[in-house]
């Protein structure tokens, strides 16, 4: 095994081009487990810790550009107003020790359907910026997950950052597990209201081969909110609409039975989370007007 220690992003891209089998390591919270357990013996480890820019973020007009290695702790502490869904999701990641090391770039690189960040990214709307010596490109988050633990990266590409839409309305995130720490999601759900475009977006974790959006549920709810004049009136969402939304979200799941839970349980629980989160976010929207930064903060 060789340990590659690029001191800059350009050096990292050159190293990845020269050794496409090199496994990038940043927080190490996935890679080191596999090495410790002899599940993986990469030819090259590519250490990204020395590249400072990967730990930076920039809050822009419409997006936050979040460096791939920004630890979850920083997202929780500094980006709650801009990225409330992701801040909530970050707070559910493992433990303080893990949140001090792990970041969204690792979640995306591993592309596990159980990665905590995915539902929040899908619901907020995001693009993953990847780069190789051949150039940079942005992959829409909906096109990023291509299979179980597979993503759209080419072998010579590295994840540089994620451009995430700043919240323009309330967002929620929840996950099911046996305790409030050190839990791999049995299933997870994220919801974002986008009052500016009068749309909603969803993200489902750990209940399909990849993280997915519940598109039929979104289409249904967008139409129902529009037809009922809910965005203008701010009135309480009709229970039958909420139920239909929850049923459609559950229907978007394609889960399996495994040690953490059964497919039936996952589908049911995702539906419950969808109905509750719709209630929470809508209540926040109608009582706060949904547009002010102060009130959008996640409860993380």
């Amino acid at each position: 095994m060789d340990f590659l220690r690029p001191a800059s992003w350009e050096e990292a891209l050159a190293a990845k081009a020269e050794h496409p089998t090199a496994v990038p390591i940043a927080g190490g919270t996935d890679v080191m487990v596999e090495i410790n357990f002899d599940h993986r013996r990469p030819e090259y480890l590519l250490d990204l810790n020395r590249i400072g820019e990967l730990r930076d973020w920039v809050v822009g007009e419409e997006n936050v550009e979040l460096g791939a290695s920004v630890p979850y702790t920083h997202i929780m502490e500094h980006l709650r107003a801009e990225l409330p869904g992701l801040a909530l999701a970050s707070h559910t990641v493992a433990s303080p020790q893990i949140r001090n090391r792990g970041g969204v770039g690792g979640n995306l690189g591993t592309a596990s359907p159980a990665g905590d960040a995915h539902p929040a990214l899908l619901a907020a709307g995001a693009e993953v910026e990847v780069e190789s010596v051949r150039g940079a490109r942005r992959i829409p988050i909906d096109a990023f997950y291509t299979g179980v633990k597979r993503n759209a990266l080419a072998p010579d590409e590295l994840i540089k950052s994620v451009h995430i839409k700043k919240a323009d309305g309330p967002q929620q995130y929840s996950k099911v597990g046996t305790r409030n720490a050190m839990v791999i999601a049995v299933c997870a759900f994220g919801l974002a209201l986008h009052p500016e475009t009068r749309t909603v977006r969803t993200g489902i974790g750990s209940a399909a081969p990849t993280p997915v959006r519940a598109r039929d549920a979104e289409t249904f709810l967008n139409a129902a909110l529009d037809e009922g004049g809910f965005w203008d009136s701010g009135k309480i969402i009709t229970p039958s609409v909420a139920k239909q939304f929850a049923d459609l979200v559950a229907g978007a799941c394609n889960p399996i039975d495994d040690v953490r839970g059964t497919a039936k349980y996952r589908r049911h629980a995702v539906g419950i989370m969808a109905r509750r989160q719709l209630g929470w976010t809508w209540e926040q929207y109608r009582t706060d007007g949904g547009g002010t930064g102060r009130t959008l903060e996640g409860a993380a």
Binding site: M1, N36, L45, D47, Q97
Partner: protein, 197 residues
């Protein structure tokens, strides 16, 4: 490969390190510092918790090469680290070599505590003393990780709520105590810290 880093305030180097080796393995097997415990090797139990440039991390998940040039505090150096923090000059202003914990001293470290006969205090940080006083140590395996995590929390949150304590220690598993006495110990250390100010 060779790894140069600072352990408990002293420059150290480790040779013949395998590229896939964890920081935990280097500390235990190459530096001879077995205070950080090796249990789950997957970041689940927190018993290998150390400070990496001040931040608590599971040392089993840090590749040895990632520690190059960085500062590590292990449980063996906790007493000295806490002393320098209390004297408000962590690292600065000390004559070179006079602060930090040497490898030799760290390797010989034994829990001293307050001697019941002489009343003399051994070399313990306030959090270590509180763990002993509150009876928060049973088998002791999880203790080093808990000490490092709790000490870090008290450093930036001097009056933690119970929820703060629970969250700060949520990545450390203890299979003996049921956690109640551990929570007592952290509350005790926080109360003593407040009194001292």
């Amino acid at each position: 490969m060779r790894v140069n880093f600072t352990v408990n305030g002293r420059r150290q180097e480790a040779d013949d390190v395998w590229e896939g080796e964890s920081l935990l393995y280097v500390l235990r097997e190459r530096m001879g510092l077995p205070g950080s415990k090796n249990a789950c090797e997957q970041g689940e139990c927190g018993s290998c918790t150390v400070r990496l440039d001040g931040v608590p991390v599971c040392s089993c998940l840090v590749a040895a090469g990632q520690a190059e040039g960085r500062e590590i505090i292990t449980v063996e150096g906790l007493a000295d680290y806490a002393k320098h923090r209390d004297e408000a000059h962590p690292g600065d202003g000390c004559a070179s070599g006079s602060c930090g914990t040497s490898l030799q001293r760290a390797q010989r470290w034994r829990a001293g505590g307050t001697d019941s006969g002489t009343g003399e205090a051994g070399e313990l940080s306030p959090i270590q003393q509180a763990f002993i006083d509150a009876g928060a140590v049973q088998c002791g395996f999880c203790t080093p990780g808990l000490l490092v995590a709790a000490d870090e929390m008290l450093e930036h949150n001097p009056s933690p709520s119970d929820a703060d304590i629970r969250e700060a220690l949520s990545g450390n598993l203890c299979r003996c105590t049921g956690y109640e006495k551990i929570l007592d110990a952290v509350r005790l250390a926080a109360a003593r810290q407040e009194e001292a100010v």
